[in-house]
């Protein structure tokens, strides 16, 4: 999970997807565990706007986003990819403590984010930097979080990538995966009780659907119809565990039926399909209540920087998914529309890398929190017990601590 527990040799992101080792322990790895179903999307009940080449499939209607919006979406997907590359390197070179890659998952979270209004609430997982950026959070703030600096919303208290910001209506996750699904549902229910028109979105992985929290949230949602969209990113893996060991249901979407919650399965590497399904769910929320969306996608990177995918999946499996890389598809879609070309691409990447450079340097230069700050925010007003403990701790710290 953590740097000094993991192999620490510097390893570029690219290596992640081209490694050759195939053996686990004494035995061979089996055939791919999560075979890419996107080429036969219809057979799997997976809704698509575009195919691998960015051409319309005629299945889900193209949501007809304005050109500017389409470009902005793609640019964000690229920026997010560049952030992931950089995060990996920063961790491998010992400058951030920990990194959770999101390579391959750029489409789901960016498209779902823009399907919601800025004053809607989003409950985030740990692979969703684009959400914050799309809501106007400056890049340097994200890196300050990755570096655990004092001057970021959480004061350096949380693991890198466990992001959020109240000013952007983005609630940080509760490190236990899945725990916040009912929180999102409860918040949506609260808005309904208060008569507000706020809508809610919660991201979580397919592995998290196994927890009781998923069950609680979906069950309450069916009965009380809060305006919440549950977005299950089925990326094939929960750390080393494939979906076949996670559940025996055919899809994650259909789990909604068990709770009377409407549901849909979409291609999570097709940003427009994600947008269309999410936007519809958002729009229907006041009338129909919750929707469960399963976005079928793939974690192309390591689970975290402490992970070693060689132990559990084959390069062949990864390779098939790479052909469905959401960045490639979205770029082709834009090119088909004559909205994008090679020069744009080069300029964009250069811009992203430059922006990241600036943000990294600014963030890294920021100070760490001081020990006294540990005691803040436990209660609104500290108890005498905490004040006494703070005083004692401060008095006892060695110089330099």
């Amino acid at each position: 999970m953590i740097r000094n527990l993991a192999a620490s040799r510097l390893k570029m992101v690219q290596h992640v997807t081209t490694r050759k080792k195939k053996t686990v322990g004494k035995g061979k790895l089996n055939a791919p565990a999560f075979i890419c179903p996107l080429a036969q999307a219809k057979d799997h009940g997976i809704r698509q706007v575009m195919d691998a080449e960015g051409n319309l499939t005629g299945d889900l209607a193209d949501p007809d986003l304005a050109d500017g919006q389409l470009i902005r979406l793609y640019e964000m997907m690229v920026l997010v990819r560049a952030i992931d590359d950089r995060g990996w390197i920063l961790q491998r070179s010992g400058r951030v403590e920990f990194w959770i890659p999101h390579r391959g998952l750029e489409a789901v979270h960016t498209a779902a984010t823009i399907a919601f209004n800025d004053d809607d609430w989003i409950f985030l997982g740990y692979r969703h930097p684009g959400t914050l950026l799309l809501r106007g959070v400056p890049l340097v703030q994200l890196f300050a979080q990755f570096f655990g600096r004092a001057d970021e919303p959480f004061k350096g208290r949380r693991l890198p990538t466990l992001m959020g910001d109240r000013r952007a209506n983005v609630v940080p996750m509760t490190t236990q995966v899945g725990s916040y699904i009912p929180h999102a549902c409860g918040a949506a229910w609260a808005a309904k009780i208060k008569g507000d028109d706020t809508r809610f979105l919660a991201f979580f992985g397919e592995g998290s659907s196994s927890r009781g929290e998923f069950h609680s949230a979906l069950n309450f949602a069916g009965v009380h119809k809060p305006p919440v969209v549950f977005l299950c990113e089925n990326n094939g893996w929960a750390v080393t565990t494939p979906t076949s060991l996670q559940t025996a249901s055919t899809t994650f979407a259909e789990k909604g039926d068990a709770y009377g919650v409407r549901n849909i399965r979409v291609d999570g590497n097709d940003p427009l399909a994600v947008f269309a399904a999410t936007r519809e769910a958002r729009d229907l929320a006041p009338e129909k209540g919750a929707t469960l969306i399963e976005a079928v996608t793939y974690r192309m990177g390591y689970h975290t920087t402490s992970d070693n995918p060689d132990l559990y999946r084959t390069p062949e499996e990864v390779a098939v998914w790479e052909a469905w890389d959401p960045l490639i598809r979205m770029r082709k879609y834009l090119e088909n529309k004559d909205l994008w070309n090679e020069q744009h691409e080069e300029e964009l990447w250069a811009r992203c890398l430059a922006e990241i450079d600036v943000a990294v340097h600014a963030a890294e230069a920021m100070p760490l929190p001081g020990p006294a700050s540990m005691f803040d925010d436990t209660f609104e007003e500290p108890t005498w017990m905490l004040e006494e403990q703070r005083e004692q701790l401060l008095a006892e710290l060695e110089p330099g601590e």
Binding site: W121, E152, P153, F154, K155, R157, R158, G164, D165, R166, V171, P172, T174, Q176, S179, Y180, P182, H183, A184, C185, G186, A187, A188, W189, A190, A191, I193, K194, T198, G212, E213, H215, S216, A217, N219, F220, V223, D376, D377, T378, F379, E380, T383, W384, M385, L386
Partner: protein, 335 residues
């Protein structure tokens, strides 16, 4: 109307809890009550009788049978700005929500750098005395002490129940309200239903004395007073009984003041001995008042076994007799 309100009324513990919730529900549209069976039927103990009829089923909510789900949804409600009161049907069923109470509600403020908070009240009907067997007689308060972020209140009188309910609802942090089931109908008292909240963090000397300090909370306070009265007659010991009222943050000033005066301490709770709240009390007192103690701090508690159905009420939970023996032990101690 307000004149009527100011008249003092004889109120059972049940009615006091009901009145406290009613007061907050009626005066603050952000307050909601949710739990199993709390709405239509007013809760299995009837603590919420009539509230759904008065406030409506939107804010007094019968939930599915899922303690974790109830608390977890209340966490979300609180994040958004409601002030949920959650009823756990019996405190024995609270454990499924442990993660959401201690590691979500009690931590959202800290973990979000102060951006979010989870003000909410978790009502935990606790303690034995109703032949409830081990699940329906649990004392769970000690599990909630081990890290900050949540306050713990335990009223031992109807007036405290009323005022602590109000204080808990208005508190900016999550509050565990430990309710004494055996007192629900057994105890009544007269007080003015004036909407004035209790002060959180203040203990009360419910029987002054100079020889020995008893620290207790909930129904055991009453047993302690009985024991003190008995021994005053037979043994001429003058025992001071303190009702802690707030477990976190406990009232260290009142505690130390009394202990430094008497030099002898007996801590009484109904929860099992090991790692009961008495452990923390004893540890703190011996640290902060070491030089004042004439005798070791005694703990009177249930043994480290579950609450027995058929003989638990009689033999398992501490009573005035056993408290009396501890007092005698403390008084007779010699190095």
């Amino acid at each position: 109307m307000s004149a009527v309100k100011q008249r003092s009324r004889k109120t059972t513990m049940l009615e006091a809890i009901n009145a406290g919730m009613a007061h907050e529900l009626e005066n603050d549209p952000d307050v909601v009550l949710l739990g199993e069976d709390v709405g239509r039927a007013g809760g299995i103990f009837r603590t919420s009788t009539g509230l759904q009829q008065r406030i409506g089923s939107k804010r007094v909510i019968d939930t599915p049978l899922d303690e974790k789900g109830i608390v977890a949804h209340a966490v979300g409600m609180a994040l958004y700005g409601l002030k949920p009161i959650v009823e756990i049907q019996f405190s024995g069923f609270i454990h499924d929500a442990f993660e959401h109470i201690m590691f979500c509600a009690a931590r959202y403020r800290w973990a979000s750098g102060g951006q979010y908070s989870c003000p909410m009240v978790i009502r935990a009907p606790s303690f034995g005395g109703i032949k409830g067997g081990f699940w329906h007689s649990q004392s769970v308060e000690a599990y909630f002490v081990h890290h900050g972020g949540i306050k713990i209140l335990c009223p031992s009188t109807p007036e405290d129940a009323y005022r602590m309910m109000i204080a808990a609802v208005r508190d900016p942090d999550p509050v565990l309200l430990v309710e004494a089931v055996p007192l629900y109908r057994a105890m009544s008292a007269s007080f003015v239903h004036d909407g004035v909240p209790a002060e959180i963090g203040r203990a009360e000397i419910i029987r002054p004395g100079k020889d020995l300090t008893i620290l207790s909370y909930g129904p055991m306070c009453h047993q302690s007073v009985i024991a003190a009265d008995d021994l005053a007659d037979t043994d001429a010991v003058d025992v001071e009984v303190i009702d802690l009222r707030t477990l976190i943050p406990y009232d260290i000033e009142s505690i130390l003041k009394s202990v430094k005066k008497t030099g002898r301490v007996v801590i009484v709770h109904e929860a099992p001995l090991s790692m009961g709240f008495g452990a923390e009390m004893a540890a703190v007192i011996q640290e902060k008042a070491f030089g004042y103690l004439h005798t070791p701090i005694q703990r009177v508690a249930a043994p480290d076994v579950p609450y027995h159905f058929s003989i638990g009420d009689e033999c398992y939970k501490p009573n005035a007799h056993r408290i009396g023996l501890a007092i005698k032990r403390a008084m007779a101690f010699e190095f």
